[in-house]
């Protein structure tokens, strides 16, 4: 009978202090947990991304539809010989034209309420009886009008900053938006643009979330700040001409 003695080589593990081993184990466990969490995060990110994609698509269709509807109405009316009265504008963009010195207290208050605290500050305003009266009080200090989609988009994308923790934070990613406006169903830039342009239910939340736009002086200059637009100047309601101005100010 042969009895084989297996020669077992004693493998000596390198002596490592216990604390190090504990730390390593902890690190590995932690990493495992992190990866699991991260996988979830990535998944949610993917979901959000598809959502934003779908929304953007939907909105474009919506805008196009609206435009075409208006055109169609006009054409139909023209055919019949009738007249189409377009709805009054519901959205305005208001820019503060003048500085902060020697401002009448009433005007000062109105401008404060609009958050127009600095020259060339701009805000989106929902037009109703109340706000229109306010705009009338502050008229010599502001220039306002009805922005179109491109203007709204450009403003939000290029000059859009958020009010986060009382800080002016750039709109760098959609996560910021979804964090603060998510519960209103607004998760991306396109949502913001849509909400503003169509003056939706959450218009005030969205515009309040946005810091007042800080615009440039217009390239090519003003006409005459001390006069009403109608008089060849700049202040007051210039309706659709605001888009031309903003093109030069954004």
């Amino acid at each position: 009978i042969y009895i084989y003695f297996s020669v077992v080589k004693k493998v000596r593990l390198p002596s490592v202090p216990a604390t190090l081993l504990k730390r390593r184990k902890k690190a590995i466990d932690q990493k495992r947990k992190d990866l699991k969490k991260f996988a979830k995060v990535l998944k949610s990110r993917g979901v959000k991304r598809t959502e934003t994609f779908r929304k953007a698509e939907k909105y474009i269709k919506e805008y196009r539809l609206k435009e075409n509807q208006e055109i169609r109405l006009k054409r139909n009316a023209k055919k019949k010989g009738a007249v189409v009265v377009p709805g009054e504008a519901r959205l305005a963009f208001v820019i503060r034209i003048r500085g902060i010195n020697q401002v009448h207290p009433k005007v000062r208050k109105v401008l404060q309420l609009f958050r127009l605290l600095q020259i060339n500050n701009g805000v989106f305003v929902k037009l109703n009886k109340a706000t229109i009266m306010m705009l009338r009080i502050a008229e010599p200090y502001i220039s306002w009008g009805y922005p179109n989609l491109k203007t709204v988009k450009d403003l939000v994308y290029k000059r859009g900053f958020a009010k986060v923790n009382k800080q002016r934070v750039p709109l760098v990613s959609n996560t910021l938006i979804s964090k603060y406006l998510g519960r209103r169903g607004i998760i991306c830039m396109e949502d913001i643009v849509h909400e503003i342009f169509t003056v939706g239910r959450h218009f005030t939340s969205v515009t309040n979330f946005l810091w007042p736009f800080q615009l440039n002086n217009p390239t090519g200059g003003w006409r005459k700040k001390t006069n009403h637009f109608v008089e060849g100047g700049d202040f007051g309601n210039r309706e659709n001409q605001i888009n031309c101005l903003l093109r030069r100010m954004i």
Binding site: K31, F38, G46, T52, F53, I60, Y157, L171, V172
Partner: protein, 523 residues
């Protein structure tokens, strides 16, 4: 160190004699485990050191031994008091002021300056205790600068015979046997002149401090050690902080005689028993029972409860203009790039149409356009192109068959570089789709359907070009590439056993085509 207290036994200190360890040993007095407070020692040392000062002052009349009076204004001289009289240089000279020659100094030093300082007894004792405790720590003693590399033990306890030493020679021999002589040598080497004016003030020479011998009964020891530079002697009952912590710094090299060492417990007490020789005194209690801070921090009790360190580096995310920066725009609005490409495409079509209408007008083209042409311009052309059916070419395999090696699954996953994290997710279990690769990067948005045709719209992709969706065969709209013949040169001609079944030549990597297959199947 109160761990010692909890263990109820203190370490033994052996008594040294003539360079050897005797049989007798003493348990370490509790004082050596008392808290070491260098701040207390420093403060008390400052206070006590002031108590041996001798007053100095200027003479009390200095500068006032004149009857000078100011001449007042109107005499074209400064208004300082001037010495009266005449007949000497001194007359008319300014007097009294600190700015005057021969005048009194500013704030003349006075004898009644507060030279001595009171120090609370308990605080003094605290300092003493700290200093003694520090002398029991070899690290502190070495950091003070004493040469104790050779000494057999710290604290160094020595037989009582030393107390009977009569001659300096004996003392020297004793120190040699104790291996404390190198400390004395250092003193010798450090003998030098004082820097500064103290030289002329009877403080000409300076030297290091050497060992301190603490004895119980002086039977000649003091005189014997008088001649050894640097060595100091002190009786146990009259311990002096100025000697135990010279300069206010703890950690003097102390040599105890046996009887002196034994007295320490009686003198200062242990925490259990108050001091016998001092009225109403017990050792100071430490603020922390376990002073090993690192050990405390690394202990399980704390490590399990502390929050994770936040290694996140918060970087400023610069705002880039999405209107000019396509990548950035894509980040904010994933549909934007698609939109742009579509609009570009439609613009092209528009231009084409214009061309067509222009050509119609000029007569180059017929007035009517065929349905095909209309259809082509209405919808993105790529979608409407019929998918070319490419017959797989019958190619004879001349050459070795490529063996498809199976990728090692998770058994070795841990060993692979960069795949460690996958192993961690499910330790030890083989992942079915591991070789395909779990996509943890960007997830493609699901393709949306075009409104006009019921078919899916092209996927938005990284480079902005819309790729046509793959069919179920896994083929994309394009021709199959032919394998290069260069590979087949120089290899033995081995024809395959099944020439009839066409082997699709896919010299380009298969996994890319597998993925859309998967996507197609998943749908």
């Amino acid at each position: 160190m109160s761990k010692m207290a909890t263990v109820n036994a203190r370490p033994l200190v052996s008594v040294h004699q003539n360079g050897t360890i005797t049989e007798s040993s003493i348990s370490l007095p509790a004082i050596f485990t008392a808290p070491i407070r260098p701040d207390v020692v420093n403060f008390i040392h400052d206070q006590i050191a002031k108590n041996t000062r001798q007053p100095y002052a200027v003479s009390k009349d200095a500068g006032h031994q004149t009857s000078a009076e100011s001449w007042g204004t109107g005499r074209a001289v400064a208004r300082i008091p001037r010495v009266r009289g005449g007949g000497t240089h001194r007359s008319g000279q300014g007097a009294f002021g600190n700015m005057c020659r021969g005048g009194r100094m500013f704030a003349p030093t006075r004898v009644w300056r507060r030279w001595h300082r009171k120090a609370n007894v308990t605080q003094r004792r605290y300092a003493m205790v700290s200093a003694i405790a520090a002398s029991g720590s070899p690290a502190l003693v070495m950091s003070k600068g004493h040469i104790i590399q050779e000494t057999p033990e710290v604290p160094l306890v020595v037989g009582d015979k030393v107390e009977e030493a009569k001659t300096t020679k004996e003392a020297m021999m004793f120190l040699r046997k104790c291996r404390a002589w190198s400390d004395v040598l250092k003193v010798y080497k450090s003998k030098r002149f004082r820097a500064g004016v103290g030289k002329m003030r009877n403080r000409r020479r300076i030297q290091r401090t050497g060992p301190l011998i603490v004895y119980n009964k002086d039977q000649g020891l003091v005189k014997a050690f008088r001649g050894i530079p640097g060595a100091d002697t002190i009786q146990v009952k009259k311990l002096n902080l100025l000697k135990l912590a010279p300069g206010g710094h703890v950690g003097r090299f102390v040599i105890w005689t046996e009887s002196a060492f034994r007295k320490l417990d009686k003198l200062y007490g242990t925490w259990r028993k108050p001091s016998k020789l001092k009225a109403n005194y017990n050792l100071p209690t430490p603020k922390m029972t376990n002073t090993d801070l690192m050990r405390i921090i690394q202990s399980d009790e704390i490590q399990n409860v502390i929050k994770r360190s936040n290694r996140k580096v918060l970087r400023r995310n610069p705002k880039l203009n999405p209107l000019t920066n396509k990548k950035y725009m894509g980040k904010l609005n994933p549909y934007a790039n698609v939109e742009r490409k579509l609009s570009q495409h439609y613009q092209k079509i528009k231009i084409e149409r214009k061309e067509i209408s222009r050509k119609k007008k000029t007569g180059e083209l017929p007035a009517r356009i065929s349905k095909e042409e209309k259809a082509r311009t209405a919808i993105p052309p790529k979608m409407k192109e019929p998918r070319e059916k490419v017959e797989p070419k019958k190619i004879k395999f001349i050459g070795k068959k490529m063996k498809r090696t199976k990728k090692t699954k998770s058994g070795d996953a841990a060993a692979k570089n960069g795949k460690l994290h996958k192993a961690l997710l499910k330790p030890g279990k083989p992942k079915p789709g591991a070789s395909k690769g779990v996509k943890t990067g960007k997830t493609k948005p699901l393709p949306s359907k075009d409104s006009k045709t019921g078919k899916a719209k092209p996927l938005p992709s990284k480079d902005g070009k819309t790729k046509p969706l793959p069919t179920k065969d896994g083929k994309t709209g394009g021709t199959k590439p032919v394998p290069s013949k260069a590979k087949q040169v120089g290899k033995p001609k081995i024809e395959t056993s099944k020439p009839a079944t066409p082997k699709p030549s896919q010299p380009k990597s298969t996994p890319k085509q597998d993925k859309p297959k998967q996507a197609a199947i998943k749908k």
